[in-house]
Chain length 606, copies 2
C-alpha cells in the first residue's frame, strides 16, 4: 500500500478538518511469518498522541511472542491480575483504527493481544486472534474401561508435549505446565458439552496418570465416571489460569469491534470494564479448525460500563463459559469512618483492582441482609488503599445509619444493552447474563447453551454481580434445549441469588421483564422461572418439544416465587408427554394466566 | 512530646538553614496497641515533599496489618515480585528520619515494614520489626522412631493452627497456608543448624502427616532421616515465599540504619539495590524470644549498589540464609540489534525487574564462555521492554564482534565495603559473600556459619552474581567452625562458580585478596581455598583446633588452583591430629609458602 504522501502515510481531510492517515505496517518492517511484537510495540509508541490514525496490516499471518513484548501490571476483572505482556497496548489513543486487513494474529504463550485503556473512539476490525498452542488441551477418549473407571486419551496439541510426574498428568505449554484441572467434556455428536455433564466431573484426589504412548495418556479415577469413547475432554488447569484475556477494554469511550474473530485465549474473548459505549458487530468467538473449544472463559463480559453496549451479528460458540454477561459490582462496607466516608472492600477475588467509582458517580447504599436499596447518594471523593479496599466519600447520608451489613452498587455505571441477530451456542454455562439497571433489548437471537438461556440474577453472595434489572425486553429469539447440562435449565431464569442468611425484602429485586414472541424448542418444556420480579410479561411464546435429550425435569414450565404483577398469556406448548404446569408461590400477587395452550394452570386462575 | 511550636511540630534551625521539625505520631492519633497502618500511611503521604522531618514514635508496641495498607507493585531482587502492602512507604523522601523511640513495630501477615525508594538522606533508627506470627513455623521433635523414619513434633506458633489434608501438613498463617517446604533443622545444643544438616533434608514425595494432638503432628518419611529428639525444624514452605522482605532500599542516596532489630520477615532482613552509600550501625537480625529462627533468608543483601556500604557493630544470627551478600549482576546478551544496541535479558528469575543500568553507567562486555572481561563501554540509552528484557545502547563497540555467548556487568554500580565489629553466626549458609570490584575491608568481625566464612564467588551460571573482586582485605577477624553443614567449609573460599562448559580464561577472575591476622578455630583445619585468584596474601593467621564437630574433611588446609602470585606466610596451625597440608594445582604460579607452623607444604617450596 504505497501512498502519494510519503511512505506509509495517506493523508485524508475528514469532516471536522481532522487529519487522518493510514499507516501501513509493511512500511515499518512488519511482515507476516515472523514475530513482530517488538516492532508493533515500537510503532504504537511512536503513534501515541496522534489522532486519526488507521494502522493497517496487509493480509497475512503475523506472529506475536511474549519475550520482547512490553509489559504492564493489569488488574483485569474476572481474570487473574498480573504483569501482562501486550501485543497491542492501546493506552491513551484517540480516533484510532486497528485494521487487520483480514489477517491472522497468531500468539504464543502468555501474551495479551489487545488492550484498550483510557482511549476514545477506537475501532478494532478485520483480524482474527489465535494461539499457536491454545490455553487448553483436548483429550480425546480412545479407550474406556468403565469398571475400573479408566480411560485412555489422545492429547492434542502435542507441540509442548505432556508428562506424567508422580502419577500426575502435566500438560505442556509455552513456558509452563497445567495439571488436569478445570475442564469440560464435549460430546462430538452435538459439538457441545455432554448431557448431565457433571457425571464426568474431575476427581481432585486419587487420580493416576500413566504415559501409554507418544501422545496417549491413561487416566484412572481422574473423573467420577470415565467419559464415553470419542469424548473430548477440554482441560485448562487450575487457577490462576486467566492470565491472558484476548481483548481488554478499560476506562474508554466509544469502542467498536467489527469483523474480529477470537479462536482461543487464556481467559475471556472480550472483557470490558468502566467503558462507555461499546459496539460489537460480527464479533466471533469460535473454535479453530481441528479444535473443539474456543475461549476458555466467557466470550464477552462487561462490568460497570455505561452508555450502550450494542452487540449484533455475533457468533459466540464453544466457550468454556457464558456467551455474554453484563453487570455491576456490589462492594462491601467494612466500616463507616465518619465525615460521610465509607471504608469499602471489593467483594470478589477476581474483581480486585476494580475502579468501583469516581467522584460524580451516583451510588446506592444497599442492604446486604435483604439485598434492598436503602439510600442514594453521589460520590465526592475516593481514595484507593489497595486492590481490595478504598475509601469513598458521598455528599449525603441517611438520617439514621442503617443497621446490618451494607453494600454499595454504582448506579451511574449501568449500561443499556441491545443484542440482536446473534448466535450463542455449544458452550458451557449460559447464553446471556443480564444484571444492569439500564434498558435491555435482546431480539432476533439464537441461543442454545448448557445452562440457562437468559439468566437475570444479581447476587450479593458469591460473584457479587449487581444489580436488579429495571427494563428488559427479550423478544423474538430462538431458545434451543437450554439446560442440557443438568436437565433443569430455563430459557429465562430471573432470580437474585441469596445466601441462606439473606432474605428478600418487601419489594421485588427485579422489575419490568418482558419475555415475548420467543420460539423455544426443548426437552423439558421449561419457559420461565422468576423469583422476586415485579412486572413480568410472558406472552406469545411457543414451546415445542425436542427429543435430543431425556425429557422432563419434574420442574414447572413456569415457576413464580414472590413476584408481583405477572401476565402469562398466549403462550403455547406442544408435543410434551409429561405435565406442563405453572407454579406460583412465595406470595406472588397480581398474576394473570390467560389464553395459553398446553399449559396446566391448575387452580391459579380459579 | 508537646512542643512550643504547635502540635507535634518542633522547629529547629539546622546548619545550612534547613528547617527541620519533629512530628510526634501521637499528635496524629497514632498510639500503641492498635493497627496504625492506615494512619501512618496517611501521615506519610502528608509529609511527602517536606524536607527535614523526623517522624517520632513514643516507645510502645504499634501494630501494622495489611488490610488497609497502601499497595504498590514492587520488583524486589532476590525476592518474589508482587503487589506489596506497605507500612512505611518512603517514596521520594529527602532528609527524613524515622525514629522509632525504641518501639516494637509488630506486623501481621504479608505486609512490608519499610520501603525506601528514590529517596535521599534517610535515617531509620531505634525500632524493632517483628511479626505477630513469623513467616516460618518451628516444629520441635518430641518423639522419634528412626526405624520407621517417623517423628512427632510440636508445632509453634499455633495462632493460625495447622491442618493435615490428604496426608499433607499445612501450616497456618495470616491468610494463607504453607506446605512443609524449605526448612532447616536447628540443633538446640548449639543454637545453630545441625552438623551434616542434609541428613535431615526434606523428601518431597511419599511424606505422610497425621494430626496427633492439639499442637502435634506426626511426620513419616518427611525427611531422609528423622531429626533427633529436641531438634527444631524451622520450615517456611515453597516458593514463592519471599513476598515480604523487612526493609527494602531502592534507588536511594545516603541511607542510614541505626539501632534497628529485625526478628522475622517473609524474605531478607535488609535488601538494597541501586543505592549509593548505605550505613548500618547496630543493625541486628536475631530470633525473638522463644523462637529459633530469625529472617528466613539473608540478613542483609546488596545488589548493584555504589559508594560505600558501611556495616559496623551489627549482630546477624539465626537466619535461614547468608549474613551479608554484596554483588552485581550478569545479564545475558540475547542479540546484537545493530547501532551499538544490545537486547539483554535478566539472567536470574529472582532478579526480574532489576534496573541493570542507566545512561552514563560503565559496563563490561564479558564472555559467558570463560567469564573473562572483553570490552568496556558506556551506556547511552536504555529501554525496558519487560521485567526480563531491555535494550541497552553503548557508546563504543569492539572492532570485531566477539564470538560465543556474552554477558554484561555494570562497572559503575560496584560499591566499596567496610564491615567492622560485626557478628554473624548460627545461620544456614555463609557469613559473608563478596563479589564487588570496589575496595573491601572486613575487620574485627566474629563469624561462625554453617557453610563458608567469606565466600568470594561470582557466577555466570546460576545466581548470576557478578563480579570478580579487585581489592579485598580480610584482617583480624575470628572464624569459628565454618562449614559444619557438610564439614567442608573454609574460612575463606574464593573461586568463580562455573558451568561444566565454562572455562577459566587466560587471566585470573579475582584479584588482590589479603587474608591476614585472622584467628580461626575449627574442626577441619581449613584456612583458604582459592581458584583463579591473582595476588593472594595469606599471612599471620592462626588456626586452632576445636572439637565441637567431627574432625578432618580430607581436603587441604590451603587449596590453590590456577592462582598467580600467592604468599602463604607466618600462619600457624595448632592441635590438629590429622595432616594439615597445602595443595597447589591448575598451573598456579608465583607461589611463596614461608614460615608457617604446622603446615605441611610437601614439595611445593622445594
Amino acid at each position: 500500500m504505497r501512498t502519494f504522501f510519503g511512505v506509509g502515510c495517506l493523508l485524508v481531510i475528514c469532516a471536522g478538518s481532522v487529519l487522518a492517515r493510514t499507516v501501513n505496517v509493511e512500511d515499518h518492517g512488519i511482515v507476516p511469518g515472523q514475530d513482530v511484537t517488538f516492532k508493533v510495540n515500537q510503532l504504537l509508541e511512536e503513534l501515541q498522541g496522534e489522532k486519526g490514525v488507521t494502522l493497517y496490516f496487509p493480509k497475512g499471518r503475523y506472529e506475536f511472542k511474549p519475550e520482547n513484548a512490553i509489559e504492564k501490571y493489569r488488574a483485569v476483572t474476572n481474570h487473574d491480575n498480573s504483569l501482562k505482556r501486550i501485543a497491542f497496548p492501546l493506552y491513551g489513543f484517540e480516533d484510532f483504527t486497528l485494521d487487520g486487513g483480514e489477517s491472522t494474529f497468531l500468539f504464543y504463550g502468555r501474551i495479551c493481544p489487545v488492550i484498550v485503556e483510557n482511549s476514545k473512539n477506537i475501532m478494532l476490525k478485520n483480524f482474527s486472534i489465535d494461539w499457536d498452542t491454545p490455553f487448553h488441551h483436548e483429550l480425546t477418549v480412545v479407550e474406556r474401561d468403565e469398571k475400573n473407571n479408566t480411560f485412555v486419551a489422545e492429547v492434542s496439541p502435542m507441540k509442548h508435549g505432556f508428562k506424567v510426574q508422580g502419577g500426575k498428568l502435566l500438560l505442556g505449554h509455552y513456558g509452563w505446565e497445567d495439571e488436569l484441572g478445570q475442564n469440560i467434556p464435549y460430546d462430538p455428536k452435538t459439538g457441545a458439552p455432554y448431557w448431565d455433564t457433571r457425571r464426568y466431573g474431575l476427581k481432585y484426589r486419587g487420580a493416576k496418570a500413566a504415559n501409554v504412548g507418544e501422545n496417549r495418556v491413561r487416566l484412572q479415577d481422574a473423573t467420577r465416571l470415565a467419559p464415553p469413547l470419542g469424548a473430548v475432554l477440554c482441560a485448562w488447569g487450575n487457577s490462576p489460569n486467566r492470565l491472558a484475556q484476548s481483548i481488554h477494554l478499560g476506562n474508554s469511550l466509544n469502542t467498536t469491534i467489527e469483523n474480529v474473530t477470537v479462536y482461543a485465549g487464556g481467559g475471556m474473548g472480550l472483557i470490558a470494564e468502566r467503558c462507555e459505549n461499546i459496539h460489537l458487530n460480527k464479533f466471533v468467538v469460535t473454535s479453530a479448525e481441528g479444535r473443539t473449544l474456543s475461549a476458555r472463559a466467557d466470550a464477552t463480559h462487561f462490568l460497570g460500563c455505561k452508555g450502550l453496549i450494542h452487540v449484533e451479528n455475533c457468533l459466540l460458540e464453544h466457550m468454556g463459559d457464558d456467551g455474554i454477561n453484563v453487570h455491576g459490582a456490589y462492594v462491601k462496607v467494612v466500616e463507616y469512618m465518619g465525615d460521610n466516608t465509607f471504608l469499602c472492600e471489593i467483594s470478589h477475588r477476581q474483581q480486585k483492582g476494580l475502579i468501583f467509582c469516581e467522584p460524580g458517580d451516583k451510588v446506592m447504599l444497599t442492604s446486604r441482609k435483604n439485598v434492598q436499596p436503602l439510600y442514594e447518594s453521589t460520590v465526592t471523593a475516593t481514595r484507593i488503599l489497595n486492590e481490595s479496599r478504598f475509601l469513598m466519600t458521598v455528599d449525603m447520608m441517611p438520617e439514621t445509619y442503617p443497621e446490618g451489613p451494607l453494600s454499595f452498587e454504582n448506579l451511574t455505571w449501568y449500561p443499556d444493552v441491545i443484542m440482536k441477530k446473534c448466535i450463542v451456542r455449544e458452550n458451557r454455562a449460559r447464553s446471556v447474563l443480564i444484571s444492569t439497571k439500564g434498558k435491555v433489548l435482546l431480539e432476533d437471537n439464537w441461543f442454545s447453551s448448557q445452562m440457562h438461556g437468559v439468566l437475570i440474577e444479581g447476587d450479593n453472595k458469591s460473584w457479587y454481580e449487581s444489580g436488579g434489572v429495571r427494563d428488559v425486553t427479550i423478544n423474538n429469539n430462538t431458545f434451543v434445549n437450554h439446560g442440557y447440562g443438568n436437565g433443569q435449565g430455563y430459557p429465562l431464569y430471573a432470580a437474585p441469588m441469596l445466601l441462606p442468611e439473606q432474605t428478600l425484602g418487601d419489594d421485588q429485586y427485579h422489575w419490568n421483564i418482558r419475555f415475548t414472541n420467543n420460539r423455544i424448542k426443548n426437552f423439558n418444556g421449561h419457559l420461565v422461572h422468576a423469583k422476586s420480579v415485579k412486572n413480568l410479561i410472558v406472552e406469545e411464546n411457543t414451546v415445542e418439544v425436542d427429543n435430543t435429550y431425556p425429557s422432563s425435569s419434574g420442574l414447572p414450565a413456569v415457576a413464580l416465587d414472590f413476584c408481583k404483577d405477572v401476565r402469562v398469556k398466549n403462550n403455547s406448548f406442544a408435543g410434551f408427554e409429561f405435565p406442563i404446569r405453572i407454579e406460583s408461590k412465595g406470595g406472588t400477587t397480581g398474576l394473570k394466566v390467560e389464553h395459553n395452550t398446553g399449559l396446566d394452570s391448575g387452580t391459579l386462575n380459579k
